[in-house]
C-alpha cells in the first residue's frame, strides 16, 4: 500500500516537471513572435521582390511537389520518428495560409511557430531568423498576392503517439534556435560582403546542409562569427556537402569569386559540377540570383578562411604514366576502364560537361561519402536556363566490386596533385548496403 503510494508520489514528482513542460509549451508557442506587425502597401515591385526572395529561400524545394500546384506542400520528409508532410503555403483560406496575418507569417518564418505550435526544424527557421523586416514583408506580399491559391489539403504527420507530441519542439526551439534579429554587421563593413553574409546565413540557409550538427540536431555554428565549423561540411543523407570555406582540403580555396558565382548560376565551373541535392538547389534557387547577389555570396564565402591545406599544384605525372602505358598504380587501370573516357586520363574532365577530378574540391573532401554515392548511383548535371543540356554519369554499382570502387576513388583522390585520404573497401560496402535499403534517399 505504502509502497504503491510512494511510487505514485514518486512518479508524480518526476512527472510534474515534465507535465509542467508539456502544459507550458502551448503557451510558450502562442506567445512567440511579434504580436502584430503593421501591414505595408502591396505593389507589384514588392510582390516581385518577394518572389525573388522565395527563390533564394528555396521555399519550393520543400513546399512544391512536381505536378502539384506551386507551394501546395505535401513533400514527405522522413524523420527518425516517422514522417511529416510539408504544409500548403498558398494563400488558400482553408487549406493554405490565406488567413495568416503578417505577424503569423513572420512567426512561422523567423520564430518557427505556426498555428500555435513549434515547427520541426526541418523548416529552417533558425536560418531564416535573421531575415530583415522589409524582406519578410516582401515574402508575405508574394505568398498572399503572387501565388495562386490551391485547395490542396495538408497531410497529417505519420508519427505515432507518443512520439507525435510536439512540446519537445518548443523546448528545442527555445534552446537551440537563435533569437530572431538582424545579423551582425560584417567586420570589414564591405556592403558586398554584408549582402553575401545576409544571404548565406539567412534565407540561403546554406548551413542547414553544409554545417555539421550536434547530438540535438542543432548546427554547430549558425554564423561565421561562431567559429570555423560554420559551413565546414556535413553529411546529408547519401552525400557529404563539402566545406564552403577556403583553406583545408576539399575546400573552395582554389575557386575565385567569379567561379563560385558561375557555379551558383549554372551548376558548374571549370573544375566542378553540382551533384546530389545541390543540383535542385541550383535549378530551383541559386540560378535565379542576380549577378551581384551571386558575387556577394561568393565574396562572403571567400572571407571564411582557415589555415592549412597547403597550395595545390597540378601534377602531370599521373597522366604521363598513363600515356606511357603504365597503369600499375592501384586503381589506375580501373580508372582507365571506367572513368577516363569522360573525366580524362589527365583528370581535367570537360568544363560544363564532365567534371574535373584534378583540383575539384568535392574529390578532396575529408569525407568521401559523396564520391562513393556518385559511383554507385550515378549522377545527372543540373538544368538551368543557361545550361539546358544535361549530362549523365551512369551507375557503376553493377560493374565494380567494393574494393574496385575503393581503389579507383583512392586513385582519384591521390592523383594529379590531389592530396586526400584513400577510401576503404568497408566504406564502400557500407554505403552500398545503405543505398540498397528501400527507404534510402539518393538523388537519382
Amino acid at each position: 500500500m505504502k509502497v504503491r503510494r510512494l511510487l505514485l508520489i514518486g512518479i508524480a514528482t518526476a512527472a510534474t516537471p515534465v507535465l509542467s513542460l508539456i502544459a507550458a509549451a502551448p503557451l510558450l508557442d502562442r506567445t512567440a513572435g511579434e504580436k502584430q506587425i503593421a501591414a505595408v502597401p502591396v505593389n507589384a515591385d514588392l510582390v516581385s521582390r518577394g518572389e525573388y526572395l522565395a527563390k533564394i529561400g528555396d521555399c519550393a524545394a520543400c513546399h512544391t511537389l512536381a505536378g502539384q500546384p506551386p507551394f501546395s506542400g505535401g513533400l514527405r520528409m522522413k524523420l527518425p520518428i516517422g514522417a511529416i508532410y510539408t504544409p500548403n503555403i498558398t494563400p488558400d483560406r482553408y487549406q493554405g495560409i490565406g488567413t495568416f496575418s503578417m505577424a503569423d507569417f513572420d512567426r512561422a518564418l523567423r520564430f518557427g511557430v505556426s498555428r500555435g505550435h513549434s515547427l520541426y526544424p526541418a523548416m529552417p527557421f533558425p536560418s531564416y531568423a535573421s531575415t530583415r523586416a522589409e524582406d519578410v514583408e516582401a515574402l508575405y506580399a508574394y505568398f498572399m498576392h503572387g501565388v495562386e491559391p490551391a485547395a490542396v489539403p495538408n497531410r497529417e504527420a505519420a508519427i505515432v503517439f507518443p512520439l507525435s507530441m510536439r512540446w519537445p519542439l518548443t523546448y528545442w526551439r527555445l534552446a537551440f534556435a537563435p533569437e530572431p534579429k538582424p545579423i551582425a554587421a560584417v567586420p570589414s563593413g564591405d556592403p558586398l560582403i554584408a549582402t553575401g553574409a545576409y544571404l548565406v546565413e539567412g534565407l540561403g540557409h546554406c548551413g542547414e546542409c553544409h554545417t555539421p550538427r550536434n547530438y540535438a540536431f542543432k548546427v554547430r555554428a549558425q554564423t561565421s562569427s561562431e567559429g570555423p565549423l560554420f559551413l565546414s561540411g556535413a553529411r546529408v543523407e547519401s552525400w557529404f556537402a563539402p566545406s564552403l570555406r577556403s583553406g583545408g582540403p576539399g575546400s573552395l580555396a582554389r575557386w575565385s569569386e567569379d567561379e563560385i558565382a558561375t557555379f551558383l548560376s549554372t551548376g558548374s565551373n571549370h573544375s566542378g559540377i553540382a551533384f546530389g541535392s545541390m543540383g535542385d538547389v541550383i535549378s530551383n534557387s541559386t540560378q535565379h540570383l542576380v549577378r551581384s547577389d551571386a558575387l556577394a555570396v561568393a565574396t562572403y564565402l571567400k572571407t571564411l578562411t582557415d589555415d592549412g591545406g597547403g597550395s595545390r599544384v597540378y601534377d602531370k605525372a599521373t597522366d604521363q604514366a598513363l600515356r606511357r602505358g603504365d597503369a600499375s598504380a592501384p586503381g589506375a587501370l580501373g580508372y582507365l576502364d571506367n572513368c577516363a573516357a569522360c573525366h580524362r586520363p589527365d583528370g581535367r574532365g570537360y568544363a560544363g560537361v564532365f567534371p574535373a577530378l584534378a583540383g575539384n574540391p568535392a574529390v578532396e573532401t575529408t569525407d568521401p561519402l559523396s564520391l562513393i554515392s556518385i559511383v554507385l548511383s550515378g549522377s545527372t548535371t543540373t538544368r538551368t536556363s543557361a545550361t539546358p543540356a544535361q549530362f549523365h554519369m551512369p551507375s557503376f554499382a553493377w560493374r565494380l566490386s567494393d574494393s574496385e570502387v575503393a581503389d579507383i576513388l583512392s586513385f582519384a583522390r591521390t592523383s594529379w596533385g590531389n592530396k586526400a585520404s584513400v577510401v576503404a573497401e568497408s566504406e564502400v560496402r557500407q554505403q552500398r548496403l545503405e543505398l540498397a535499403r528501400p527507404e534510402s534517399t539518393s538523388n537519382n
Binding site: 597522366d319 600515356r323 602505358g325 582507365l336 577516363a340 573516357a341 586520363p345
Partner: protein, 231 residues
C-alpha cells in the same frame, strides 16, 4: 561436357575435349580465384546437333599457338544462346512470304529459314550428307575429312536435302565469328581471348591519350562490358 559425349565421339572429338580441358585450366582468372569452365548444357541444340556444332566450330576456329580456338572461347555456347534469343527466332529479319529462291544472290537472303530452323535442318542434312559420303556423321570424321567437308559446304559442292549448303555454311561461319569476337557476356570470347589475340581493346572506348600519339603501340589489354569479371 565429357559425360554427354559417347565414347566414340569422345575419341573422335578428342581435340575438342582436350581444348575444353585446357580451357578449364586456363579458366583461372588472374586474381587467383579458381574459375572452372563449367560444363555447358545446350538449351536449343540436341545432343547430336551439339556434337556437330562443337566439331564444326573447332575446325572453323581451331586452337593454335596464336590464340584460343572457338571451342575454348565458348563459341558453341554463344551459338546455342543466340538460338534462344529473338535473333534465333528470326525477329531481326523480314520473314513474310512468298519466298522466291531462284533469284540472283545479289538480291539477298530469300530463304524461309530462321537461324534456329537453318541449324535444325542444316545440321541434320549435313550429317546425312556426311553419312552418304563418308559413312559417318560429321563429328565422327577425322579432322582433315571434316575440313574437306566444310569446304564443300562452303562452295556448294555438296547438295543438302534441306537448306542450300552455302547458306547453311554461311550461317554457321558468321555466327562462329560473331561468337569469337563478341563481348564475353554473350557466352563466347571467354576471357576476351580473341580480343587479346588481335589487340582489340574491347569496351574501353576511350583513346583520349592516343589522339596525339598516333602510330605508337597501344599498351593496354582489353576490357569487356562487364569489366574485371571477364579478365
Amino acid at each position: 561436357m565429357i559425360d554427354t559425349l559417347t565414347r566414340r565421339s569422345f575419341l573422335a572429338g578428342a581435340a575438342a575435349a582436350a581444348a575444353t580441358l585446357t580451357a578449364a585450366c586456363a579458366g583461372s582468372s588472374s586474381d587467383g580465384s579458381a574459375r572452372i569452365n563449367r560444363a555447358y548444357d545446350p538449351a536449343y541444340f540436341t545432343a547430336d546437333e551439339w556434337a556437330f556444332i562443337v566439331a564444326a566450330v573447332d575446325r572453323l576456329i581451331p586452337a593454335s599457338e596464336e590464340g584460343p580456338g572457338g571451342i575454348q572461347s565458348g563459341v558453341a555456347e554463344f551459338i546455342d544462346r543466340q538460338m534462344e534469343s529473338p535473333y534465333g527466332y528470326g525477329a531481326f529479319a523480314y520473314m513474310s512470304g512468298p519466298f522466291l529462291t531462284d533469284l540472283p544472290p545479289s538480291l539477298g537472303y530469300q530463304l524461309r529459314y530462321t537461324p534456329r530452323e537453318m541449324y535444325r535442318s542444316g545440321i541434320a542434312a549435313a550429317d546425312a550428307a556426311a553419312h552418304r559420303s563418308y559413312s559417318a556423321r560429321f563429328s565422327d570424321l577425322a579432322i582433315d575429312r571434316q575440313d574437306e567437308f566444310l569446304r564443300s559446304l562452303e562452295t556448294g559442292a555438296i547438295t543438302l536435302e534441306g537448306p542450300p549448303a552455302e547458306a547453311f555454311f554461311e550461317q554457321l561461319l558468321r555466327n562462329t565469328k560473331e561468337g569469337y569476337f563478341a563481348d564475353p557476356m554473350y557466352g563466347g570470347n571467354r576471357h576476351m581471348g580473341a580480343w587479346k589475340m588481335i589487340g582489340f581493346p574491347g569496351a574501353r572506348a576511350d583513346f583520349t591519350d592516343w589522339m596525339d600519339q598516333q602510330g605508337r603501340h597501344y599498351p593496354y589489354g582489353p576490357v569487356s562490358v562487364n569489366g574485371s569479371k571477364d579478365r
